[in-house]
């Protein structure tokens, strides 16, 4: 399924957009239906089923503002916990009725994943952002080598469903790693797909199971894969897995694309040394010191972010920290919640950062 163009809204909606603010419209409209908003894509949780020992599959029904997603892409889902909207990215599968299925694994210490796996109520409303990601298939008949570890299976599942709908035009091998057998998700579905489509082969690899644990990606031979050098490899999993896959396959495949998902950033961080800070709007990467405020560090490199008081009170320098950990210079607090506003003048970098600047 390809991304749908946003349809031109009907005239009542166009008029409403000119006449009222989203804040006003949404306040009253959501009294009647929690999904009725002027602009914001939202979705309601309609079901939750167990997907493996520590993962669940949630089905979300998006509202009319959801513009769709291509197989293999991701979406940022905003979940409100304790009054705070926390953003996490998932790779959903679009179901036949247009609903989105996301599979979430409970991560120890993961506030959002634990909430979604255990506590989220049916009917709960989450926010959605526009879909993003480059792991999409442009030529459906190109031979593929799909590599997934843990939750990295979710975009692969979406890709495979998409390919299956097109009759599996090319050869596809899926290598799917987990530690134990009961951590595999979609086993039934994947086996059924493989049974129905001779061009698809699925390999389940449990690395901590029984007497003969499966090889990890760096030791995997890929002997059974035909015409490896013609394959486009697509990998998804934790950063360590993706890097291992990249170096294992370097020079042996036609193309390598990957997406790594980040685990919760460490909160105990050094106060000395340097980090890399990536600025998304200017596309620059700078090396900044950990013992200096971000504002001072950026200014020393010739970047001039908007700012005011330089002491953490006026909020002029607030900008979104998309990922990484920062240290509040007045309170010493560490914060690593993705997609959060930080004040550059009273925050020092703790880890590598991505800032919306």
């Amino acid at each position: 399924m390809s991304a749908l163009p946003t349809p031109k809204p009907r005239w009542p909606l166009r008029l409403a957009r000119r006449a009222v603010s989203p804040a006003l419209f949404d306040f009253w409209a959501t009294r009647f239906n929690p999904l009725w908003t002027l602009e914001q894509p939202l979705a309601r949780l309609v079901s939750r089923t167990s997907a493996s020992r520590d993962a669940v599959t949630l089905v979300l029904r998006p509202n009319a503002h959801w513009a769709g997603i291509r197989a293999g892409q991701h979406v940022s889902v905003g979940v409100t916990i304790g009054g705070r909207r926390l953003i996490r990215s998932y790779s959903p599968t679009v179901l036949d009725d247009g609903n989105l299925a996301i599979t979430v694994k409970a991560i120890p210490g993961g506030v959002v994943s634990q909430h979604l796996v255990r506590d989220a109520r049916i009917g709960e409303v989450v926010s959605l952002d526009a879909a993003f990601g480059d792991m999409t298939l442009d030529e459906a008949d190109a031979p593929l080598l799909l590599l997934a570890a843990g939750s990295g299976i979710t975009p692969m599942r979406a890709l495979l469903r998409d390919l299956a709908a097109q009759g599996m035009p090319g050869n596809v091998d899926l290598f799917y790693w987990a530690r134990h057998h009961d951590e595999f998700c979609f086993t039934g579905e994947l086996k059924a797909l493989a049974a129905a489509h001779p061009r698809l082969r699925v390999h389940f690899l449990a690395t901590r199971e029984g007497d003969a644990p499966a090889a990890r990606v760096d030791a995997m031979s890929f002997d059974t894969v035909t015409a490896l050098h013609e394959r486009r490899a697509v990998a998804c999993g934790p950063a360590g897995f993706v890097e291992a896959a990249r170096s294992r396959l370097r020079g042996t495949v036609a193309r390598f694309d990957a997406e790594a998902f980040s685990l919760p950033a460490p909160t105990a961080v050094d106060e000395a040394g340097d980090v890399e800070v990536y600025l998304t709007r200017s596309g620059r990467t700078l090396t900044l010191s950990r013992n200096q405020s971000l504002l001072e560090g950026l200014e020393a490199q010739g970047v001039r972010p908007a700012h005011g008081c330089r002491m953490g009170i006026c909020n002029s320098c607030a900008c979104e920290r998309q990922s990484g950990t920062t240290r509040h210079l007045l309170t010493g607090d560490r914060s690593s919640e993705p997609s959060t506003q930080v004040r550059l003048c009273v925050s020092a970098p703790g880890t590598d950062l991505i800032l919306d600047l």
Binding site: S21, P22, A23, L24, D26, F27, W28, Q40, G78, G82, G83, R84, R85, L86, I87, G308, C309, M311, G312, I313, C314, N315, S316, A318, L330, T331, G332, D333, S339, T340, Q341
Partner: protein, 370 residues
Amino acid sequence: MSHTRNRPLSAADLDAFGEELDAIRARVQADIGPRDARYIRRVVAGVRWTGVTGRALLFLGAFVHATLVPAWILGTLLLALSKILENMELGHNVMHGQYDWMNDPKLNGKTYEWDIVATGDNWRKTHNVQHHTYTNVRGMDDDIGYGLLRIFPEQRWRPFYLMQPLIAVVFALLFQWGVALQDLRIGRWLAGRMQPGELREAFRPVMRKVGKQVLKDYIVFPLLAGPFFLPVLLGNVVANGIRNLWTYTVIFCGHFTANAEIFPKEVVQNESRGHWYLRQLRGSSNLTGGKLMNVLTGNLSHQIEHHFYPDLPANRYAEIAVDVKRICVRYGQHYNTGSMPRQFGQVIWRILRHALPSRPRVLRTGEAIA
């Protein structure tokens, strides 16, 4: 003019004073959570419900003539209440970034737009940056008399100020327009220190906002009442007027009471964090009156706490005040608070007194840092 006895604080005292106040910030920051989110969402609901009820009553009065007077009065008051709540407890506080932690785009400090002719962007600059960083510093904090009034003897007297008792009343009635124009610095343009093109450029977003507000309050809603245009229009004018008078009163009580002080520009050079806190304390004054007063003033009844922690959720100020007061007592610093009639009486006295030539009585910079 100051009649208080503040203990002179050494540089070490000031550092300790600042650290204790920073510790309150850290403690509250760590505790921010669902309670604060619930509070601001209740305020949003309060703004919406009072607003819609007020407007509905104005229409009721217009169409059902038997109810005209009571419905008009109640409707106007509710609409005024809605605007007061929106401007003070919601808009002002949200624009400080107090609820940014919720990550709700509708409560984002840098993008929020409020129900008043002044633009949020101008306010973020004149108020959040200039006023809050350089509170009561002469020549840097434009809120000292808003370039229109002489509130402190340190301001140079000019014959123009003889008219200020009258000007102050007009300014109060039209306060939202004063706030809208504050950042345009028309005075500089009149004095020929600004190019007309520069002023036009600055005027554009203000005119857009003014147009929107005028269209909403004075054209669309009155027109919806058809032949009964006039009472609805009048209700909107009066509601905006009540909001103007109330916000003016609250804001003037915050920094212009008898014991509030102003400072020369030199203080901000190499100012320590402790001294910055002390300056906020000496330049601000609170209002007593309990929970209702707190809500109606957007918690500016805790002006001192607001100036210490402008970015902490305002619903926390009342509980923070207990500790702040205790710290001030321990450091021998006057904690300026009083009822609204008392504090505003002092403001009126200042406006009257300093319309005439006056001279500062004590040199206060030497007192601040011993």
